[in-house]
Symmetry: C2
Subunit: 251 residues, 2 copies
DNA sequence: CGATTTTCATTTGTCAGACAATTAAAAGTC
DNA sequence: GACTTTTAATTGTCTGACAAATGAAAATCG
């Protein structure tokens, strides 16, 4: 663990990198206690505030957790699926919104990923997963639901579908992708007609999963992907038209 | 942007959360400059070191970048695919290693995700992607390659396959998943025989992608998944056997 | 002696103030 | 006008201090 005071890189960043490397290569194990801030400061030859900045960097990635008091300190944190999902959602959401990823690309990615776990879901789905999917379908078919609530239920349905695959890695990766797309999905205003079509497709997919018919579920998901892309394209076209109008009026 | 000094949550964490929320909901746009540390300290009613800890938390997630000097400060950073990938790899790697995710589960997730982009890759692959895949196959078939180098080439091959799908979201998500698995893959020692089988399968997949035959590429990938799982199972069985031996000798 | 309370030492959280390093803009100079 | 110098703003780092939390040891009491 060496740092270079003459490097242009900030000292706190160097220290964070050194400790992160130690965690990732296993030199520091889960729940192991790091030296106290004062000890770290001395061993790195920097002041305590600098060490603290480094530790906050690591805390932001939930690589460590800290505890006050005697026998307190910084401990290597076990990476939980929940935390990892949060991080992934934050990163993915910003990646989509800041880079102007178009709806079609995001949609394509989302459904491609989701279709990856359909075979597993068909093979392994439990009654609980099916019940969760049915519950969301029921909610989606109730009248007077706001667009946000409809979207949230849509996410929950797909989450249940992914969880049915019974692979936590897939759940973690796909939950991130699906949730990150929610802001994009929220741009769509769902008519009663389009909602009906969507929950009908959801029903078809749930039926297929229940029947352990992966091929049929895949076809249902493909249809849903196509229909979602179509809805998105309509919204984008309408927006583009409005922009042209404004521009024409202004000129 | 309000913070509560009486909350058990650290002030720097609250401040980071407030600013993060402002970035994610669009109140702070890309490249926009945040107030100076002194101004933030005053407006939040805390000291400058506390503000700095909050900013380091955000910097660790690459939500902001800072610049020294007059007209310097903290700026909202555009989330790049490269940065997002780094984060995803760090998180996923630790998630796998710290939670004792078994080889079979990780392998299943990886190949499920990869198969999701085979249809797109078959449809859109360019000559460049094919060339990249062929180059890695050539490397894999050279003699005297270390296990690490073989694994790295394997990752590069799959990376090219994923990139061929032409969807940056998929590339980002899958690159993370594939690279995070590398430590697990490195536990396998590849015999000349298994290497030959692997690069032969790679060749079959590349041929299918070149011929735009998604079904054949999918079959190749499925075979590769099965073979990889088999190799992993052998390694795990051997390990388990060694453990039992040690235990028996000890008793 | 055992249980309870008190004290205490350790460690993180926060603050105040200072100085160094960097950098862009303003002022000065030729 | 082009170049150099100065200056002001801003982050990076340090020092020293105190508050708050917390577990362990010491003291007290039944």
């Amino acid at each position: 663990m060496k740092i270079d005071p003459d490097s242009p890189e900030e000292l706190s960043a160097q220290i964070a990198r050194a400790i992160r490397a130690a965690i990732m290569d296993g030199s520091l194990k889960v729940d192991e206690r790091l030296p106290s801030e004062a000890e770290l400061a001395e061993s790195f030859g920097v002041s305590r505030p600098t060490v603290r900045e480094a530790l906050k960097r690591l805390a932001a990635q939930s690589l460590i957790r800290t505890q006050r008091g005697a026998s307190g300190g910084a401990f290597v944190a076990r990476q939980s699926y929940a935390q990892a999902r949060e991080q992934l959602i934050t990163t993915s959401t910003l990646l989509l919104s800041m880079n102007g990823v178009d709806f079609a690309t995001a949609c394509e990615a989302r459904y491609a990923l989701e279709r990856a776990c359909v075979p597993l879901a068909a093979a392994r789905r439990s009654a609980d997963h099916l019940a969760a999917m049915r519950a969301e379908i029921a909610r989606q078919s109730t009248a007077g639901l706001s667009d946000e609530a409809f979207c949230a239920s849509d996410v929950a349905f797909h989450r249940a579908l992914v969880d049915a695959a019974g692979n936590p890695i897939l759940s973690y990766q796909l939950a991130g992708a699906v949730e990150a797309m929610q802001p994009l999905m929220n741009m769509i205003t769902f008519t009663a007609r389009s909602r009906e079509r969507i929950w009908a497709l959801h029903g078809r997919i749930a039926d297929a999963i229940e029947a352990r018919d992966a091929a049929e579920a895949d076809r249902g998901l493909a249809d849903l992907a196509a229909y979602t892309a179509e809805l998105g394209a309509d919204v984008m076209a309408a927006r583009a038209a409005r922009r042209v109008n404004r521009h024409t009026e202004g000129a």
